[in-house]
């Protein structure tokens, strides 16, 4: 396939970012050439955009997005024009539309600007006049020499392709799961017969399990290699399953994919979307950043052409991206992960200039980091919905924690994310009030400061126990991660001590004893389930004691805390095991490098969890009915029941 003329811009990729760039350039009458370079979103059978980036309504409005057929030129244009940009209901896209207007999509069809060329860039060199000389090879073996002024990368680099190929070459049992928001319940279990496709020796099972009235857990199990024996060298991507049309559910390769480091731009090329690791091309996570980076690329190229400063285009692009991200508001649908993604993106773009962190940067970014961590922007897709009787307490505790940590130095945010500060129900600050209510206590409102003290102390301890501190910020090869954790721990500890002090010396001392107990356990290599058992036992006891209840009830509450702590660790590991990692942010079995002390197989974990929940139920049944008991039942049903009822394979 050859073009009759040289484009101004070569765009590598054919996904959202590339499409949006081409669209923007077309509107500016700038010619471009699209090169589909290996795996792109359009190649993937995956269709999953649930928890981040695009809302579930948006997902439903884009049927077929990601299907392989979209790689045909006409289909691609239609998808880009009719399905993607105009139909997504994410209000955040108003930001990337100019002035809130839908882009003039007609231009995409009317302007003859694109020459889709399925192939790859085999050589790219910078010319003396500032332009580029690119050799593009097609899958049919033909090659083409393209001269252009700008190169925009929208696909990750070659190493990523290889990794994804390896990932797709199924040679062992893999269990992959995903939560889907749906309009109705599902209880079907579907089985695919690989022989019907006549491909290989793989067997595949698809399970759709109800999680909540509006959520379905889709689990796919693949055993063996489904590539045909006649074509062992063929890419496994060619043989992935198709959408389950009858259910209207998007199903495909659901395994967690590390979408790799950003592509390193050479010669001042512009790097956008997945190539910059802004977007997960497999899940669509943070797809709005596709559009945002594409728009910056278009502006940069337009400005560079006007001013004649072609070589400065990539710097302009970086500056525009940063400015846009700082001010970006996704709208009412923003979630924790929206904020977290933007925060990480900004922080990673910051260290190149001047002092690391200025007061201005802190003022701009810290609220974003905190939004990523607290209840205020709790992801709607999360299963943690606070019951009404405890919601006020949680909001107040969170507000206090935010206030205490609001002066954070930025890398602390990375550390804070690591220790999962805030948001969930199973944390000491919340359980304190739960146990207080459970034994008939009525001083819940006065316990918010103590709740925040417990949460902050937890953050302090776990920040230092965490073996992985996020957000790398190197300069002179110096890694500041550990410093961030220490600063976070100190800040959190100081405020924990201060807040606990308001309840008297005895409470402050008791909090100290609790910190030391958890620390001692960690040092001695105690498993995570036991550490969390201790971590949640103390606040449960505290809440009961502050209600002046009987010793028996205090002991019961403590035992409930222990069981909840252990159940929490087990359920987290179970979810990690069945592949929910990229939904819930659980990255590996164990807790930040801590062993969990038990067999990590899904069945063993589910059995262990069932035993604990049974014990919990027995204690709860023997307790008098109260709003606190309702809350605990709520916690158990929301967090653990899906696992116990689903028996995911």
């Amino acid at each position: 396939m050859k073009s009759s003329r040289s484009p101004t811009v070569l765009i590598v990729g054919d996904g959202i970012a590339a499409t949006y760039t081409a669209l923007g350039l077309a509107n500016r009458k700038i010619s471009s050439l699209i090169v589909c370079d290996g795996v792109g979103r359009a190649d993937l059978p995956t269709y999953e955009v649930i928890p981040t980036g695009v809302t579930s309504n948006g997902c439903r409005n884009v049927p077929g997005w990601g299907n392989r057929e979209s790689t045909s030129v006409e289909r691609w244009r239609l998808l880009a024009g009719d399905q993607f940009v105009s139909q997504l209901d994410n209000p955040g896209l108003d930001i990337v539309r100019s002035g809130g207007q839908v882009p003039p999509l007609e231009a995409l069809r009317d302007v003859e600007f694109v020459d889709a060329f399925r192939g790859r860039v085999s050589r790219l060199s910078k010319l003396e006049d500032g332009g580029y000389d690119v050799i593009v090879e097609s899958e049919h073996g033909t090659s083409r020499d393209v001269k252009c002024h700008f190169v925009v990368w929208a696909t990750p680099d070659e190493t990523w392709h290889r990794a994804s190929d390896t990932n797709s070459s199924v040679t062992q049992v893999r269990v992959r799961s995903r939560l889907y928001e749906t309009a109705s319940d599902f209880d079907a279990v579907l089985s695919f017969d690989p022989s019907a496709r006549g491909t290989g020796a793989a067997s595949r099972t698809l399970s759709i399990l109800p999680v909540a009235p509006h959520l379905a857990l889709v689990t796919e199990t693949t055993v063996g290699d489904e590539r045909p024996t006649a074509d062992p060298a063929g890419s496994a991507r060619q043989y992935c399953p198709q959408t389950v049309e009858s259910l209207g559910l998007p199903v495909g390769s659901l395994s967690a994919v590390d979408y790799g480091p950003p592509r390193s731009p050479r010669f001042g090329e512009l790097v956008i979307g997945p190539a910059r690791s802004l977007v997960n091309p497999f899940t669509g996570q943070a797809a709005y950043l596709d559009c945002l980076s594409a728009r910056s690329a278009v502006h940069s190229i337009g400005r560079a052409r006007r001013t004649g400063r072609v070589v400065a285009a990539h710097k302009t692009h970086d500056a525009l991206m940063r400015r846009a991200l700082v001010g970006l508001e996704i709208g009412d649908v923003d979630t924790q992960r929206h904020h977290a993604t933007i925060f990480d993106t900004l922080v990673q773009s910051l260290p190149d200039d001047g002092p690391f962190y200025t007061a201005l940067r802190r003022a701009l970014l810290v609220p974003r980091g905190l939004d990523a961590l607290t209840m205020r922007s709790l992801d709607a897709a999360e299963t943690f919905t606070p019951p009404p009787n405890i919601a006020t307490h949680i909001w107040t505790v969170d507000a206090l924690v935010r206030q205490c940590l609001a002066r954070h130095w930025l890398p602390m945010m990375g550390a804070l994310r690591d220790v999962k500060g805030g948001a969930g129900l199973l944390r000491p600050g919340v359980l304190l009030a739960v146990s207080h209510q459970m034994v008939g206590g009525t001083r819940c409102a006065s316990l918010t400061r103590l709740g925040a003290a417990f949460d902050l102390a937890t953050i302090a301890v776990f920040a230092l126990m965490s073996s992985r501190i996020a957000v790398p910020i190197p300069r002179r090869s110096i890694n500041l991660h550990a410093g961030g954790a220490v600063l976070l721990a100190d800040q959190a500890l100081v405020h924990a001590i201060r807040l606990a002090g308001a309840y008297g010396g005895a409470v402050r001392s008791a909090l100290g004893e609790w910190i030391i107990e958890v620390s001692n356990q960690w040092v001695t290599g105690t498993d995570a389930a036991s550490i969390f058992a201790s971590a949640l036992e103390a606040p449960m006891r505290f809440g009961a004691e502050l209600a002046s209840t009987s010793d028996r009830q205090v002991a019961d509450c403590g035992e409930i805390g222990r069981l909840l702590g252990a159940a929490f660790v087990i359920s987290e590991n179970y979810l990690a095991n069945v592949g929910l990692s990229n939904v819930l942010g659980v990255e590996k079995a164990g807790l930040d490098g801590l062993g969990i002390g038990i067999d990590v197989g899904p069945d063993a974990l589910a059995d262990r969890l069932a035993g604990i929940v049974s014990d919990l139920g027995a204690i709860l049944e023997s307790s008098p009915t109260s709003s606190g008991q309702d809350c605990l039942t709520h916690v158990v049903s929301q967090l653990f029941a899906p696992i116990l009822t689903g028996s995911c394979e």
């Binding site: 002092p355 802190r362 302090a460 301890v461 002179r476 600063l487 100190d490 001590i497 030391i516 960690w522």
Partner: protein
Amino acid sequence: MLSATSDLHPTVAAPIRDLVRNRGKSLRTRMLAAASGWRTNPETVIASSVVELIHIGTLLHDDIIDKATKRRGQPAATEAHGSDFAGVAGVCCMTIAAEMFSLMPGVQPDELDGTLNDLVDGERRDVERAFDVNASPADLIEIGRLKTGSLFALACALALRGSGSSRHRAAFRDFGSAFGAAYQVVDDCLAYASGTANKSVEVDAMNGIFGIPLVIAASSSGTIGRQVRDIALAESWTGSRHQTLVALVRESGSIEVALDYADRSIESAQESLLGCDLMEARTLAAFGADVYARARDEVV
């Protein structure tokens, strides 16, 4: 102090005990004793332990942040025990100190809260200003007041626990705070005045944590200022560059300027005690003047 750590697992206690045994100048403890009129009793010992435990906690954490390899001539806790254990030991130190403080009679909870808050605030600001050659000397003195002065202030205030008026306690705190700021400046100057490559100063400079003499030198106009800024902000770092940097700072005359700032701070410290008619105020002032004079002499 050793008995206070008895509840800790030996692995957590080890970094703390190393620093307890390998004590430094014990300035804070000695200042507390001076502010007590050199009278010692069990309460003074507990108060000293609180101050020293907080100090050890901050040292353990500072060494992680600064990636220090040595502390008081010995391998830093991060080297000897690992950053993870040193970090948790630091948290435990401060926690134990808070517990001990809670049980002390005649103390106000906000005295400890304010000190810890200032320490952490200073620690944060110190890292936050990394690679900022445009920081003003006043900014750095304020950081010194927070990071160093706040604990001296607590030591002075604890010496008067249960005795002395609130005015006296405030005066003692002011003295400790200003003394600490002055002492920090002199300590910075000492690192450059010796003329030899000081490892801890080099690590600080490499991390972008510039002392007050360097910042003053960088702000000077002319060739020296430009050279100092170029080396301080260079992407690459070598030992020879640091030696050049030290030589430039000495040549710029910024050490003398920095000492002027320290002198003004120590004068402010002495002035804060002028209205105190306590005998302890005299012993405290005399002790502070003596320590400062010795440190300053070492520089010049």
